[in-house]
Symmetry: C2
Subunit: 150 residues, 2 copies
Amino acid sequence: MDSELERFMDILREGGYKVTPQRIAVLKVLVGNRTHPSADQIYQEVRKEHPMISLATVYKTLELLKEMGQVMELGFSNRSTRYDPQVDPHLNLVCLRCGFIEDVYETSLNSLTNVVEDASNFEVHSGRFELYGLCSTCRSEPVAVAAGVP
Amino acid sequence: MDSELERFMDILREGGYKVTPQRIAVLKVLVGNRTHPSADQIYQEVRKEHPMISLATVYKTLELLKEMGQVMELGFSNRSTRYDPQVDPHLNLVCLRCGFIEDVYETSLNSLTNVVEDASNFEVHSGRFELYGLCSTCRSEPVAVAAGVP
DNA sequence: TTATATGCAAACTTTTTGCACATGC
DNA sequence: GCATGTGCAAAAAGTTTGCATATAA
């Protein structure tokens, strides 16, 4: 049914890891998720269907997926950490007012990697590209209201 | 003498903030610093000349400089936080083995901002661009040794 | 069957906060 | 002189760890 979920499960199996209900539950929250959730947000979401899961298990699963290169862990300056199942090079537009993060696919990012590898003898494995500012919604709002800003 | 230090001190004065010995000490550590130090590393460095300073004061000073846009606070996925007095758009090459961070000035980053602003109605204030991989030194080393990897 | 994973609670790390005292302007 | 800043210590927040029990393969 969900080929992306199947792909994640296969990757676990191929790595010699068990495919447990808890891991499936976390994967289901992540598949196709563009909201860049925190560990706790993932935990709260998973608990709806799987009330007995612990936050520690969520952290352990995210750590596992991160090590397998299937999830990016994004640490922000206010020490919030968000997770992104989208690991291809892309640009994150981070709104400083409402905290919303929008993904933008910009082809020039790939050439950036090539330029650096040619010029500096640095072997690129992955990347993280962020612009901070105001999203279109917040730009047009009259009054600034603090929110969950990453 | 140090015009960059003077510039920082002027910025504090213009913001209505006091120029204290503690703040000067932190600024001296930051001026021209390309090592992307952590708060504790800055604290340890400052203590050599200023043994009575507290870590809380270092944090408060960094917070102030961050709010004034004079320092970037870089949160990483292993919850280490590094500070960079270099606020112009540039690329950080982060070595996953030894933790070294190299600055690279790539002009295409500026056009990236323009492309995004034109295409997406997002108002860019600042940016953060990172490539993760192996630096030239670590590429040529035979055995992997874990280190302070951001 | 058995190596691996889970849940719990405690530990840990890093950063923030409240407050009395000190000090730059 | 007074608003602002400092140092201390305690609190907060987020993440990790140890271990007994449970379970996927």
